[in-house]
């Protein structure tokens, strides 16, 4: 199977005077369409790893390949375009834009790249809301929704541009077990339906155990 993400000898050091090595010689490959989790203690470097995979951050040394292309030579704008088209993010805090209503939030990744909002895009956003079970909340303000509902909207938003990769950082960290379970099921459903690659950073071992591959990280080193 093809690797959709590949990290070669990746190191990440924060700080100029006091150096803090967060990732050390990370070599990892993520297969296309796979369903992965990353687990590790607080401060082990999980989120940094995810941010590097998502091109939000750059490694200090080492190579990152997304869909076979090295991101080393890419500028900030090119990386932004790849993020917009190929990667969907789901964070622990939903990070929805309170200035926009539910459907506008879902449409946002599409709007960033398109001058006009086509009827097809609107239909797609409605379908995604239906997929996450919130078709009735189209026009609602995001702060009128519950935590679980907000996270579902964030998932719908992450899927809007039909990304090949979804990166989720503690997506259930703020939710109760029932909601956490339903979010996991939703991820699985999407993975099966669209063959989207999932990488989920989590503390929740029960969620991690349900994924196809668990990547353990300790003190910045991957113990696959």
């Amino acid at each position: 199977m093809d690797n959709i993400i590949q990290l070669k000898n990746v190191n990440k050091i924060y700080g100029r005077r006091v150096k803090n090595k967060v990732l050390s010689e990370v070599n990892i490959s993520i297969e296309k369409g796979s369903f992965n989790s990353i687990i590790g203690a607080s401060g082990s470097g999980k989120t940094t790893l995810l941010n590097i995979m998502g091109m939000l951050d750059k490694p200090t040394t080492g190579e990152v390949y997304i869909q076979g292309k090295s991101i080393k030579s890419m500028g900030r704008n090119s990386r932004a375009v790849v993020r917009n088209r190929s990667i969907g993010f789901v964070f622990q805090f939903h990070y929805l834009l309170p200035e926009f209503n539910t459907i506008q939030n879902v449409l946002m990744p599409y709007r960033i790249n398109h001058f006009f909002c086509s009827r097809r895009a609107k239909k797609k956003a409605e379908e995604l809301l239906e997929l996450v079970g919130l078709s009735g909340c189209k026009k609602k303000k995001v702060y009128d929704l519950s935590g679980g509902q907000q996270q579902r909207i964030a998932i719908a938003r992450a899927l809007m541009n039909e990304p090949r990769i979804v990166l989720a950082d503690e997506p259930t960290g703020n939710l109760d077990s029932t909601n956490a379970e339903s979010i996991y099921k939703l991820f699985r459903q999407i993975n099966d339906k669209f063959e989207t690659t999932f990488i989920i950073v989590t503390h929740d071992v029960s969620i991690a155990n349900k994924t196809d591959r668990i990547i353990r990280i300790k003190d910045g080193q991957v113990q696959d």
């Binding site: 939000l56 704008n77 375009v81 917009n84 993010f89 990070y95 834009l97 200035e99 926009f100 790249n113």
Partner: protein, 384 residues
Amino acid sequence: MFISSKIAFQFLKHSKLQTLVIVLGIAVGVSVQIFIGLLSSGLENTILNKIAGNSAQVTVYSNNGSIENWSNIKNKVIKEDKNVKAAAPVVDSQVFIKLKDTNQPVQIRGFMPEDVNSLYNIKGSIYEGKMYENSGQVIIGKDLKKKLDLKLGDNIDLFTMGGKKLTLNIAGFFDLGAAKINGAWVITDLSDVQNLIGLGDKATSIEIAVKDIYNADLEGKKITKIISDNSFNVQNWKDQNKFLASGMVGEKICTIIIQFFVLLAAVLSIISILGISVVQKYKQIGILKAMGIKDGSAAFIFFVQAFILGILGTALGLLFTWLYIKGFNRYIVNTEGLPLVNIVINHKFILISSIIDISASTFAALFPAFKSFRLNPVEVIKNG
């Protein structure tokens, strides 16, 4: 960029109170700036019309006492100096008006009828009767009329020092806004005065009106060069009214400085409030960047916000200016109930000020936009 506009609009709509405060801040700044500008130019016009407007802007005298070839000089000056509005031969003399037992000394001024209008806009100053059209007619100032109890159609007898007499018929009364002039000037046809003092076809001076009254001294020098004859002496109103001229130039500079600082205060307030707004929207910008919005578009959001605020603020500012003018004309009045300063609505000045104000408001977004441009999404995501 369209998405930037949409986001900017939503940001402004979402923080209505903050938007209102910035718009009010800009509106107050803009209205004060435009009002001060209009008031200052109104004040300038009032003073110039009332004082400086009644003395010739540039005057050419002859050292011999009279100018013979005035038409040559007039044509030459008008032809060679494009900033000259009008040039006219004038004959001045001191005479007496004899009424029963009293002799009233006055200054008789002879002009061609069309010239006196282009130099002093006398038609607009005639409040009773009309402008003289032929020789034998005269127009008289408001204060002299009162003093001598004159009426339209009256004949007055004027005597020179040598006892020569001229009888003139009153065609109208003028008010040039200065009691000294209204009480001393008697304006009539050029040929009448030439005949009275036996000057033939000569003039005692040539009065010149220039386009920019503040440059009358420079124009005076230019005209001296054009005439290039040592037997002529060129004077201008600025040299003749040194204190007034320097006071008015000083007032003009002060007004510009005040306008600049008022605008600067408005711009600084936009910078600071938009700066706060960037910090408030840190999360949103970070997440938009994570979703793939480009740095340029993230910065553009703040330019659009500032542009919208500039337009709204300037529009409201213009409304405020209108209210100030209404209030000023109504409450700041003299004993006759007329406005103290005649504010002239200068559309060009208002348009230019509005464009500058909107541009300055938009420019104020430079620092906030730069912050937004530089924002790294990881900072937001890491720190929640």
